[in-house]
Symmetry: C4
Subunit: 190 residues, 4 copies
């Protein structure tokens, strides 16, 4: 990055270890989603199948929120996996973008918790979407940076990068509309 003389202690990240950290954080974020699921408490007859069954069914939205968040994080992980395999080296900028990606990925369990607690509040949905938006912005930055710093390997052509970037920008615009809709239109509609 700077022109000062080269030291062996210049930041130097192995692609493998960044992969470990990334996979580790995703594995944990996906698993702690389940910590948010609360046990039914207000049960009169502790042995009643009907009561416990209904108490669990009553919280079906929380369970759905668990499964959806799990699938979203899996999707993030699979997308990153595909992209990461094409990186020939990890520059400092790419490293910094990964910290950004991980901040937001690790934040998803909080969003899932918030949405599970306030499922009818558009703000909870907007927080979730904003987190996904921040993550997707990181992905876009990753693509643009890797392209500029020529960090993609030889199998990736300029056309591939352009197509991927365009798809991502389209998703980002869609997300912005969804967030604005939830924050400004939804409260008025009710």
């Amino acid at each position: 990055m700077t022109a000062k003389e080269k030291s062996p202690f210049d930041t130097n990240i192995s692609k493998n270890r960044l992969e470990f950290l990334f996979d580790g954080i995703f594995a944990i974020a996906m698993t702690i989603l389940v910590l948010e699921l609360k046990l039914p408490e207000q049960i009169h007859d502790k042995r009643s199948v009907d009561e416990l069954g209904q108490a669990l069914l009553h919280h079906w939205r929380t369970f759905l929120s668990y499964i959806i968040s799990f699938v979203i994080l899996s999707g993030f992980w699979i997308g990153h996996n595909t992209l990461y395999a094409k990186l020939a080296r990890i520059t400092k900028a790419i490293l910094a973008i990964h910290v950004w990606l991980l901040v937001w990925a690790a934040f998803i369990p909080f969003c899932a918790h918030l949405l599970g607690r306030y499922p009818s509040n558009p703000a909870a949905f907007a927080v979730y979407l904003s987190t996904a938006f921040a993550y997707a912005v990181g992905l876009l930055a990753l693509i643009i940076t890797a392209d500029r710093q020529k960090a993609f390997d030889a199998t990736v052509s300029a056309v591939d990068v352009r197509r991927l970037r365009r798809g991502l920008i389209r998703s980002l615009i869609g997300m912005v509309f969804l967030i604005l809709y939830n924050v400004f239109i939804m409260p008025v509609l009710r």
Copy 2:
């Protein structure tokens, strides 16, 4: 999957990374089981060996549930390990099945918690069994898909696959009966 032209950014999962994610999620699910174990609280003489001992013994079912869930998750992990070693490649369908497997594996700590809290309620047991059932259905789908997509390596013969599939289907049928028994017969028996 589709016939459109090949891009370097087509979903492409390394067998190693999926393994990391899988092992990571299992390691976490197994370890957070212990977070469910509650400390004894209603102790009058904080220094009394008898009282603390009895308070802990009183919750022996929770501890047993911890050990059983740990062993069940280990069993899932060992079974998957053996199967996974025979996969020559990870197709998109196999990847999707892995997300399914992980959703249910990560859900086991909740089931363990539920069963530890309502040990005498057949519904809690049915929820646990249903989760194991959903996981096992995923395993069956994995075997059938890997066989159809010719993703098993050369050491696996059609006879091996058939035998494994038959064993799994038999377990699934047994599980269905156990679930039905817990939901419909048990409440009547009492």
Copy 3:
């Protein structure tokens, strides 16, 4: 184990993946120790350095318990590391012993929590020691089994195994005395 014909789906664990699971569970057990540390709550002046400082110092035993448990788990991990490096293969019995080891290693955070909550209760100390004892019994079983099944690599002589086994048995006997002392002598002494 049985004499039936060989199948590609016989349990077959890669040494690497068992290592991942082991390291993963240890990493998590060591990190969730910190989840047990409670924040000081009864503070009148939220901005007072003295009050917060004293509230934290008041819980020094909990912090000490955190550090000691962390170091104990590190010790377990280092010991296993050294032993594991000498295993040439993972038999089914060795795999089963690893599940045993992991059950008790993952249980240490609960013990740490219990001891931090009831530091003056010999029963809490006995529970902790019993968990370490159960882990050490697993280590002894691992050494004896690996020796009998000739799973150690060529650098390990019969003399090395005998010496290691003797040291471990001595520790186990010491632990038994400590546990008995805590359960039977300590309550009488007071």
Copy 4:
């Protein structure tokens, strides 16, 4: 370390496994930061965007504390990564220093929680700084020990080590002043 005859069971840590444990603990510490984030509870109209939005904004310091702690842990991890890549072997002393580093790294989530709860209390800030200080002392010990035990690889010159050591000592002195300022000057200033 000692002069007694060599045994195959002398402590012998693979560089890879220590790396796994380190990365695992960092991944978990970074992810459980989010467990500290509490959901807003005192909301009258559960469906009000304004109320939930304001409740979340009210806790902006907790969210900032989450992001800062995440970035600090990332910084620690990146720094260690760079250093670790230059180690040719893991001696017993280097292993012991790693346990020290991990104790303090895993303690950061507690510090983040404390600071998020008492943001205006200089003692909370001092605890956070002291933990970072303890970690940095470990880094200094790592550099000095690796240098003395000739554990750095051939690309590292004496000049590189001296420069790194000097930079670290300067940071440590700065930290001491900041801690003293928070503990002794800040309470007087108010």
